[in-house]
């Protein structure tokens, strides 16, 4: 019987002065993951952007729980979004979106 895929939700804060959309953010992290771990590694991560708040410059990514370390390294190693220099900081990691949203409400970076 196929097992249920366990996921991890990662809340991040983007540090930079230039505005961009969610697609550009997702592409930046994906490209970085491809560079670091190749197509095989990236295919196991099942990474996608759940939501992006341009005002607070916060985003939530979802990935497979087995690839959490790989995805965290890819997110942290991202230095550019589009053509602009940026830094992405991981705020929290959680198993459900509900608990992640509750946790990040208390974080002030």
């Amino acid at each position: 019987m196929p097992q249920r895929i366990r996921r991890r939700y990662i809340a991040v804060k983007i540090d930079g002065n230039h505005p961009f959309n969610g697609k550009t953010l997702q592409d930046a992290v994906w490209n970085n993951m491809l560079r670091l771990f190749g197509e095989y590694g990236a295919s196991q991560a099942e990474l996608f952007l759940v939501e992006y708040d341009p005002e607070r410059q916060q985003a939530i990514f979802c990935c497979s729980h087995k690839s959490l370390d790989l995805v965290k390294a890819s997110i942290v190693a991202t230095t550019k979004i589009g053509e602009e220099k940026t830094a992405i900081h991981i705020l929290r990691v959680s198993g459900t979106l509900k608990s992640l949203r509750r946790k990040i409400q208390t974080i002030f970076l």
Binding site: D15, G16, R35, L36, D69, L70, K72, A73, V76, A77, T79, K85, T86, A87, H89, I90, L109
Partner: protein, 254 residues
Amino acid sequence: MPKAGNAAVKKFVDLHLCPRLENPAHLKQMIEKAAELGYKTVGIPFPAQQPQENIKLAKKICNDTGVELVTRIDLSPNNPAELLKNLRKLRRKIEVIAVKCYSKTVARQAAKDRRVDILSFPSTSPRKRFFNSAEANLASKALAAFEIDMAPLLYLQGFRRCLLLSCLRKETMTATKRGVPLILSSGASDALLLRKPKDYAALTYLFDLDAKTAEQAVSQNPQAIIERNRRKLSPDYIAPDVYLVRRGKDCPSE
């Protein structure tokens, strides 16, 4: 129930923040960013010539920001004799001394000298990184730590990053095996190259360092060096493991 490895009780240290010292605004920006990212202590390398003026300014900014400053000097000697001369001159003035090893003879001398706190290998070329098992044995006896700057992992790309990761994988394995303390430092000269301590621990996944060792390398290991050297620099220090406990009227007479 609070977790055993609670981040709130850990004191994170970045021993290698590299702001442009001639630009006070940049210095302030870097220190504020480090404080914002959760560092309680930052080490800034000062030039060996006239470091006092720069130290004063950095101390003032750190006090305003609520971060502790550690004075550090990065020595890049050409030969062992130059290293010994610099150590004699600077050891009692500066809290942390790091040696950038560009040659094997300097690396060996630095590893066996107890006055050296940190060994650093800035080159990305495997032929110019001299941290092998012999070096690790010497460093382990002299209590020197092996420093990994994380900024090159962020700004290097392609083949050069592959080389660096390969070297770091071997070196961290050697250091762990021989009991050499590891230190993760930012080595950042730009605020956008700074990351949170836990993010650096996550990045060590790239060279197969386990999470617990990585967290120690960004908190306990650098803190141990700072505390050891501050004790040595205090007026109560007499010789290794000998400290003045009481003086003057407090001393009971026989």
